[in-house]
Each structure stands twice: as structure tokens, then as C-alpha cells.
Amino acid sequence: MAVGQGAVGPGNVRGLFIRSSALPSVGITKRSHFAALRLGPFGGSAHLESRQNFRPRSQTDAKIEWSQSTSRYPQMGPPSPVTRLVPIVSTCPPKGPAPIDQIGKSEERVKKAMKDFARDPKCGKKDD
């Protein structure tokens, strides 16, 4: 098996590359072989590296990949119907103004009347 130095080859194999002709011809594909070689600095990220390079060959593979992903990280899946925000439409008829509104409006009128009264108290109604 010919192993040389360099920074070439798919996936930047940290200074190692393997010639295609030197790959074993049975039981392992070229891609998965490179993935297996790509180890992290501490040698523990091989699985993660290989998953990044994973390309599903069919729709079935893609579905499996998705389902695995959601099973490992359930919070990353599609939003559940329970948590989806649904606008609440009230079917109750609108109520009339609250008493506090009536009194608030009355207060405005009375304040205005007092201002008018202060300006011209001689015209104050019911003042005699």
C-alpha cells in the first residue's frame, strides 16, 4: 500500500493521502475509507467526520438519516402541533363600554366644564 505525504485528496486528510490504486478493492468504498482515516487531533472524532461526509444515495437513506437525527436530537425536529401558535378567535360578542370608561369620559366632560366655568363664572349654570 502506497502512502505518501501531502495535503491533497478529498477531505484534507491531515497530511496523509492514499492513492486510489492502493485502496483495498473489496469490502470498503473509497469514501468511507477516507472517512475512517480522518481522525481528529485526539483521535476521537472519526465518527463525526464520517457523518459530515455522508451522502445518502436514495430517498430511503435520506429518511433514515433524518429519523436518526431526530431521535438523537428530538428538540431539533419539526415543531409539534401542541406547541404551534394558533390564533385565538373569540366568538363572544363585543361588550359595551365598561363603567370605568363611562366615568372616565364623564370626567373629561366635567373637567372641561370646570375650565369653562372658571373662565366665565358669571355664566355658571344653576349657580344662583
Binding site: S106, K111, A118, P121, K122, G124, D128
Partner: protein
């Protein structure tokens, strides 16, 4: 025999209370101070005028309203009470007292004042309030 004060001076009636020309000028200056935003100055002049005219419901109402504008409802209340005592059937005095009590959170006292006034008088304003409440 009725004694008339300020004999020889021209007077005008303000809510049944006669004001001399000097008092009219004082009242006018208080009103102008209010208009210019000097509410404390206006209150000061009106208090002095109230001392001279203790039976004037007009001065009491305007003074109460000035304290209301200052946000001092606890100072406004005694002046509205005085105005109602002086003129029990004066609608604006009763309404001012009602709203002052209401804003102070004394709703029972406010409705007592409403009942007192409506016992002997009519009021479109009170009628509107009651209609609004009864509609709910």
C-alpha cells in the same frame, strides 16, 4: 335689614356672591396665572380670595380644580366639599366632588354624592354615567 358690604363700590355677582372690582381683578389674575401654567400662583391668589369671600362656591370650585390640575386631590377634596355645602344643588360642584372621590378610590362616597344630588335635582351627566353602568 340686610347689610351690604362694600357700600359705594361697584359689584358684580359671581354665583350669587358679589365681588368688588378689586376682587374681580384678583380673580382675573388667578385665572390668567392658571392659563399661563402657574398653578401654585393661581392657588395662592384664589386662597386669598376665598378668605375674603368665604361664601363663594365659585372660588371654591376653581380652587379645587386648580389643586386637581396639580395632582393634589387630597387638597382639592375639601374645596369641592365646601362648594357642595354652599350650593347643594349646583351640578358642577356635585360632579367635581363625585369625580374627585372616584379618582381617590372612594367609590362608595362618590355614589353617595351622586344619590344625594339626584334626590332633589336632575343631571344629564349623572344619567349618562348610570346608563353606561346599567347597560353592562
Amino acid at each position: 335689614m340686610r347689610v351690604i358690604q362694600n357700600v359705594g363700590k361697584r359689584t358684580t355677582s359671581h354665583g350669587g356672591i358679589r365681588m368688588t372690582e378689586d376682587q374681580e381683578r384678583e380673580y382675573a389674575s388667578a385665572y390668567q396665572l392658571r392659563q399661563n401654567g402657574d398653578l401654585y400662583g393661581a392657588a395662592s391668589v384664589l386662597r386669598k380670595l376665598s378668605d375674603e369671600l368665604p361664601q363663594s362656591a365659585t372660588v371654591a370650585i376653581v380652587l379645587g380644580d386648580t389643586y386637581w390640575d396639580l395632582g393634589e386631590l387630597d387638597h382639592a377634596l375639601p374645596w369641592f366639599l365646601k362648594a357642595v355645602d354652599l350650593k347643594p344643588s349646583m351640578e358642577i360642584a356635585s360632579l367635581a366632588l363625585f369625580h374627585c372621590l372616584w379618582k381617590m378610590g372612594r367609590t362608595d362616597d362618590a355614589f353617595d354624592e351622586m344619590r344625594r344630588f339626584l334626590k332633589d335635582n336632575d343631571s344629564d351627566e349623572y344619567t349618562q354615567i348610570l346608563d353606561g353602568i346599567n347597560k353592562d
